[in-house]
Amino acid sequence: MEFLSMGGYAQYVWPSYLIVLAAIVLNIVWARRALARAKLDARKRLAMSAPPAGAKGELA
C-alpha cells in the first residue's frame, strides 16, 4: 500500500506511467495493423492487376 501511495505523489506518478505505457501499447497495435492492412491492400491490387491462371479465390 505504501508503494502505491508513492509518498503522496500517486495522483501524478501513476497517470504518467499509464499514459506512456498506453503510448507504447497503442504504437505496437497501430504498427502491426498498418502492416496487416498494407498486405491486404497489396493482395487485392495484385489480384486485380494480373490474376494468375487458375489462382481464383486466392484473395481470401
Binding site: 508503494f3 508513492m6 509518498g7 503522496g8 505523489y9 501524478y12 506518478v13 497517470p15 504518467s16 506511467y17 499514459i19 506512456v20 503510448a23 507504447i24 497503442l26 504504437n27 505496437i28 497501430w30 504498427a31 502491426r32 498498418a34 502492416l35 492492412r37 498494407a38 498486405k39 491492400d41 497489396a42 493482395r43 491490387r45 495484385l46 492487376s49 494480373a50 486466392e58
Partner: protein, 245 residues
C-alpha cells in the same frame, strides 16, 4: 564496390526483408529493458532527497522526450535523403516515423505537466523547453495532415519532406533551451558530457529505459516501414511472394 551496401539499402525488396529479419532482434531486447527499467525505477531506485517519490516520473518522461526528438531527427534526415537522391525507401522511412513521434511528444507533454503540478506548482507554464516541445507536436501533426492531403504517395512524400526538413531546426532549440534561457525546466542530467548527476541506482534504470525506447523505436519503425514499402511498390512482382507467404 564499397557502395553496394548503400544501393542495396535503396532496394525495396531488400529493405522489406531486412526490416522483417531485424524486428525481433530489436523488439525482444526492448521489452526486456523496458520491463527491467520499470521495476528498477519504481521499486529499487531510492527516493529523491528533494522531490521524494514524485521524481519517479523522470524514468518515463525523459526517455519519452528523447524518443520525441530522436524520431523527429530520423524523420528529417530520411526526408532529406529522399528529397536529394530521390530514394523512395528514404521517404518510406520518414513516413513511418510521424505517428510514433507525435504520440511520444504528446506523452512527454502530459507526463511533464503531471510532474509540473507538484514541483513547479502548475500543470502548464510557457517555459521555453515546454513551448518548443509543444511546437514539435504541432510539427508532427502538420506533417501528418499534409501527407493525408495528397492521394498520390509520391507527391505526399515530397511535400511533407520539405516540412520535415525545415522543422528540424526545432530539435537543437529544444535541446539547448534549458541552457540558452532561464528556465523552470531542470538542466540535462543524462544527455550531457561528463559525470551523471544521479547515483547509479537511478542512472542505470534511466539508461536502460533510454536504450529500451531506442530499440522499441527500431522495431516499430521496421514494422511500419514494411507497410510503407508495400504501399509504394504497387504491383511489383516481388510483393506477390511476401504478401502470400
Amino acid at each position: 564496390m564499397a557502395w553496394t551496401w548503400f544501393h542495396r539499402l535503396g532496394s525495396p525488396p531488400y529493405i522489406y526483408g531486412l526490416a522483417a529479419r531485424l524486428t525481433p532482434w530489436f523488439a525482444w531486447p526492448a521489452a526486456g529493458l523496458i520491463i527491467y527499467a520499470l521495476y528498477a525505477g519504481l521499486a529499487v531506485a531510492p527516493a529523491d532527497y528533494q522531490q521524494g517519490e514524485g521524481y519517479r516520473i523522470i524514468f518515463l518522461h525523459a526517455p519519452s522526450a528523447w524518443m520525441s526528438v530522436m524520431v523527429y531527427t530520423t524523420m528529417a534526415i530520411s526526408a532529406a535523403v529522399g528529397l536529394i537522391w530521390r530514394i523512395k525507401v528514404a521517404h518510406a522511412v520518414a513516413a513511418s516515423c510521424a505517428t510514433l513521434g507525435a504520440t511520444f511528444t504528446f506523452a512527454t507533454l502530459v507526463t511533464g505537466s503531471l510532474w509540473g503540478k507538484p514541483m513547479w506548482g502548475t500543470y502548464w507554464a510557457w517555459d521555453p523547453r515546454v513551448t518548443f516541445e509543444l511546437l514539435l507536436l504541432f510539427l508532427y501533426l502538420a506533417y501528418m495532415a499534409l501527407r493525408s492531403a495528397f492521394d498520390d504517395i509520391q507527391r505526399a512524400d515530397r511535400v511533407s519532406a520539405v516540412l520535415a526538413v525545415v522543422g528540424v531546426v526545432n530539435v537543437p532549440i529544444i535541446h539547448y533551451s534549458v541552457i540558452w534561457w532561464n528556465s523552470l525546466h531542470q538542466a540535462p542530467s543524462v544527455m550531457k558530457l561528463g559525470k551523471p548527476t544521479m547515483p547509479p541506482e537511478m542512472y542505470i534504470p534511466m539508461l536502460a529505459m533510454f536504450l529500451g525506447f531506442t530499440l522499441l523505436f527500431g522495431a516499430l519503425l521496421f514494422t511500419r516501414l514494411r507497410a510503407e514499402v508495400l504501399n509504394r511498390e504497387r504491383t511489383a512482382s516481388w510483393i506477390r511472394d511476401v504478401v502470400n507467404a
